[in-house]
Structures are given as C-alpha cells and as structure tokens.
Symmetry: C2
Subunit: 260 residues, 2 copies
Amino acid sequence: MAKAVSGNRNIKLTIAYDGTAYHGFQRQSNAITVQQILEDKLARIFQSPITVNGSARTDTGVHAYGQVVNFLTAGTIPAERIAVASRGLLPRDIVILAAEDVELDFHARISATGKLYVYRIHRSALADPFLRNYAWHITSPLDVAAMQEAAQVIIGTHDFSAFRGANITQVVSPVRTIFKAEMSQDRDRLEFRVWGNGFLYHMVRNLVGTLVDIGRGRRSSSDMGILLAGKDRSKAGMTAPAQGLYLQEVFYNSTHPGMC
Amino acid sequence: MAKAVSGNRNIKLTIAYDGTAYHGFQRQSNAITVQQILEDKLARIFQSPITVNGSARTDTGVHAYGQVVNFLTAGTIPAERIAVASRGLLPRDIVILAAEDVELDFHARISATGKLYVYRIHRSALADPFLRNYAWHITSPLDVAAMQEAAQVIIGTHDFSAFRGANITQVVSPVRTIFKAEMSQDRDRLEFRVWGNGFLYHMVRNLVGTLVDIGRGRRSSSDMGILLAGKDRSKAGMTAPAQGLYLQEVFYNSTHPGMC
C-alpha cells in the first residue's frame, strides 16, 4: 500500500547497494528489500513517513552503484547532511552517495532518460570465493569477439519481446532503444555494458544469457538479429544469474553517454 | 583436541577463502572456522577423519587467496580430483585452488620459508558497500610517500615486539625477517604488501595501523625506526581492522619474491 505523503521539497538520492542480502529493491510485504530499509531510515532522519520512488526495480541479488530515488518531504534537514545522517542508521551494504533538492516534478523513474547496466562475468577454471556474489563464474572458453559483434545488433530501437522476462505483471510496450552496448575484458573479468532508454523485466540478464551462448559457440553471432526479429522468448538464451548485474547509472539529461 | 591421524600420503592444498563468515582459520570448540569446515568436507571425500595443518592462523574476518594446508591420509583419491570433488561440498566462500601429493615430511607451517600478506585500504570520502568486508575504509588524506618511506624501515631482521599482538598465548621469539614491503596505489585503492619469513600475532595489522598514523601525519615516517627500537607495543599504532588483511601466498622455496 502506498502511503500518503506530501511535502514542499522533492529530494533526489543516488544510492549504492550490495543486493546480496535483499529481495530486490522494491518494497514487499513479506521480505526485506532495499526500499523498505531506506524508507525506514529516512523516516527516522526526517521524523515522518517517507515513500521513495525508485528509478528501477532490481531483482533479488542484483546490485546498484547508482540507483536513484526521489521522495517528497516537509522535513528541513539540508540535503548535504542526509548522507552523513544516514551513515549510522543504514546497514553497511546500502550507502547514500549523493542527495540534492530537485524540482517538485522530478520523478526518479518517469523523468529518467536512460540507464546504464553492467553485467560482470568471471572467466576462470577456478571459482573465486570473493566474486561468488558479484559475477557469473564461467569456466568454458568464450569467443569475446563474437559476443561483441552480436551485442552491436541490439543497438537501436527494437521490439525486445524475445528478451522479455516471462514473469510479466504489467502490459507495457516491448519496444526499447539501446544507445550503446559493449563487451570489455580485463584479464579474467568480462564486462557487458549496455545503455538504453529503458529495459524490460529481465531484459539485460536475458541478453547476457544469449550473448554467452554465442560466446560458447552454441549460437552464432548472426543469431542475435534473428532472435530479435522473431520476438519469441522461448527461442533466446537463459536468464543470466542475478549476482552479475549492476544498475550502474541513471540519466536525466536529454543527452547522455552512448546516446545517438 | 588433535585427532590421531596417519596415512601413507601427505597432501598439500592451496585454498582461498572469504573470511567474513568465519571465526578465523583455526578450529575452535564453539565457533565456525575455516579449518572445521575444510576438515569435515575432506573427511567426506576421503571417507575417514582428516586433520589439516594450516600454514598460518588467520583471525576472524581475515581473508586468504593462498592459504596452504597439508594432511596425512591413507585415502586413494588422486590429488587432481580433490578440488573437483570438493566443489559441491564446500560452501562457496571456501575454494580449493590446488592439490598435490608431497613428501611425507612436508608441513604447511613448519616447512614454510616465507609468506606474503596484503592489506587493502579504500581511500574515499564515501563508503563503498561492496568493499565493506574487504578493505579498511579511510576518509582522511594520506601521505602515501611517507607511508612507503616508513615501510622500508621494517625491511631486514628485527625484534618486532612493538608490533606484536597483546593477546599472546605462546612464548615465541619476537624476531622476524621482512624481505620486502611496499605500498602501491591504484586509484582509490591503497595496498600494502609485505613479504617475511614469518609474522607475529597481529603484526601486519599493527604495522598497518602505525603506517596509517604516519600517512595521516599523526606520526612522522622516522617514528617507525624509533618504535621498532623501543620494542614497546603501547607506543605503536592501533590494530588495523581485520577485513583489509589477506594471506596472499605462502612460500616453500629457499628463495622467493622479495628475498634478499
């Protein structure tokens, strides 16, 4: 249930969190989520109930370096004091990176013009205990050039039904615009970075699952275009594991990195 | 209580672990430790009780990339199959990286000729939720050149009583030889690497606490030699937090990196 909230201020927060311990971002009635923890602690700081709008839901185990939320309040604490005030209250896996007063019509989700997601893959014969919650561990060889080639196919405006999560609760258009997509490798760490105006449920993880199929040689890089055109979720690859995904940045400008 | 164990094989394992969830390496009667988990799972693989010798105790929250253990067994599983067999048994925060048959007189601790410890510091005004268990977060400015200069003073053979943990249960010589010590920085990550023939209880963390005092300007780099010569623990700096410390590598050669 949404609480009735009002206020003469609209505050935008940028937050980072390790999603390992949470059932995703969005408040749920029967599980601990980032939103719930954040709202509870903000309510203590502002001495009144707070309801935040998140820029995106993130699933269980998904991380954020730059999640953005906003909330209305009548509280008077200066924006620059919010991060400091939150330090002793928030658990150490959730950090407020920035806080600022914004126009009353700013909405973290609706005002967003784009997002950058990062997906991390750890390529190694041996598991790394320090990456178990922070990357997808893949032991098989990967043809990174083929993956990079296939990733370029998704750039532009497409119907992404083939990469849409099966668990759809809202009827929304499956059309999204991808501004830029790239695979980069640093020793045993492979990173997929994708900038878009929006993403469907599970879309990044489904794209990564298919790109890994291509990297493993189970599909060719030309399959990406065929899958996109076919709009059939059952034809595309598996959903990559949650722990490799990071909501890296949310954009509110008319132009942003990767935008054409 | 040490169990009676025997066998015609002596097996050396190299293991990595995230120490966050454990009360250190060494088996304790009333807390979960890495040794206990490891011995329990090895006993299942070898179908008989196993007691391992660790190269070093690591404290609660301290990590390892290259802890070495050995154990005697009459079991017949080939060494190259141990890591694979352990994967489904060990929790994901403990990983066997390598296993090999060694001479019967090899002992992980007694045979060691040197160790490399790494201590990680995260220098940033803002905390990073992903590093909360993996580095010491320091917000104040640090004079890294002064820290590097002071670190050179500990190289050589010295009485390290000034940096010895107060919680001493064994009467051992406080004399140790440091082969090499260096501070290195990569953006906001500062790393202290120290190679020595052995380390006293809390010695690396006490050295780091003092080096950070020097970096903060609370002490001068010339204080390091004075502290060493004074042999008085109460004069040196605080014990740096456990979560920044990693047992990186254990050496069994007559020469190894950093050895003069």
